[in-house]
Symmetry: C2
Subunit: 218 residues, 2 copies
DNA sequence: TATTGTTAGTGTTCACAGTACACTAAGAAG
DNA sequence: CTTCTTAGTGTACTGTGAACACTAACAATA
């Protein structure tokens, strides 16, 4: 900032936001990708994103793009990292602020805006070849999600309001890609005191119905 | 990125890097600040920083600014967060990618480049009023450093090659702002196996000399 | 209506890590 | 040789994470 007075002397890069939109579906962790219709990387899959408007905060730009792509708002959204290597976009200098968003199964109605007609969910664990440096961005997002899962309550963002402990456990197993002990898991989660037991159960098959819980936002 | 094809339609923000350069001195955690000579915030202290050149990576820009301000290179440097609220700079849209750097006592020869003649170390715990949103940036840097201290080996970046365990403990106490138990600290640090005992001691006063250790980069 | 299949739900033991806590060792100064 | 100051060391307790197997409740069907 010390030299901001010289603003006009400097050629300015373009600034975009790229979104890693994650959800749980089909017993897998999925990322929303859009197929590119222009060069460069024509027909490759890419993370959704777009330019930051001149009078809009980075977070607002990310939220706007998210809503354009998925129709959802008011979901978990966090800044990830800023990627700005010259050469990451063959058309010129583009600095991209990556965000990651978590949406739950109830919010997965993709309304695919014009510029994202070819949007689809892909497994984050075996994604297609991605445009730009998006493979790196995605990898970092998954790493960050795994870390946050252990220290925060982000897991709940991937579930609907009411959920069973087995569903929550499955979310952890899918993200961490390893089995989790049922008893230890329940003990730990309940000890945190972040969820409230409901006087309700859900039966979904030929077996004992599961008790429903809800996240207690404090 | 999906709309990058329309680059030319968008007014571009300026992009800068701001640096939170931290060191241990005078038994305190210090940040390097520069006094602004122009409006806005004339005469206020600010984090050093500057524009990202069009063909330079963000990290390279940060390293370059760091070297301009302090003369040091090859030190710990990590991207912190990107601040981009419209209005954070009264002159126009400026998006700033914040980095934090750690330098040790031996590297504190500030060579104050032209544009930073008024550079000085200030306590991070009671800093002067800062320009722009730099107070927020600084606060976030300290929070991040505290976290990293517990999970990584960043602490060693603040010490010279050879150091005593008491010096290392003091670094932890200063950053965490709480006393640390000597025996538990030594046990934990030695158990990590990240430092190597040297066949050397240092006497600096009327008391038993302390054994020197060195960080083992693996 | 009894049996089978399937998921829900529950406690205890053990290993390890973090924490609390007090004395001896080695040098310099006087 | 006494005093002062920092370096250096071990043990007991507490809480947390990990391993591990059986009963409960329902639907389906024989």
């Amino acid at each position: 900032m010390s030299k901001a007075e010289k603003t006009k002397d400097y050629p300015r890069p373009s600034v975009t936001v790229d979104l890693v939109i994650l959800t749980i579906a089909e017993d897998d962790l999925k990322v929303l990708l859009v197929r590119r219709r222009q060069e460069p990387f024509k027909n490759r899959w890419a993370l959704p994103g777009g330019f930051v408007e001149i009078d809009e905060s980075l977070e607002a730009a990310a939220a706007r793009e998210l809503e354009e792509e998925t129709g959802v708002r008011d979901v978990y959204l966090e800044q990830l990292y800023t990627f700005g290597d010259p050469g990451r976009d063959p058309r010129g200098r583009v600095i991209s602020v990556a965000y990651f968003a978590l949406i739950n199964a109830e919010q997965q109605h993709i309304v695919a805006a014009d510029d994202a007609a070819d949007a689809a969910w892909h497994s984050v664990f075996k994604p297609p070849k991605l445009a730009f440096d998006h493979a790196q961005v995605l990898e970092y997002a998954v790493w960050r999600l795994r870390n946050k899962l252990e220290w925060t309550t982000v897991g709940y963002e991937l579930l609907p309001k009411k959920f069973t402990l087995s569903e929550l456990q499955r979310v952890y197993e899918i993200i961490l890609q390893r089995p989790v002990d049922k008893r230890n898991f329940r003990k730990k989660i309940l000890a945190q005191g972040r969820i409230r037991e409901l006087q309700e159960t859900r039966a979904d098959g030929a077996h004992r119905p599961a008790r429903l819980y809800t996240f207690r936002k404090s």
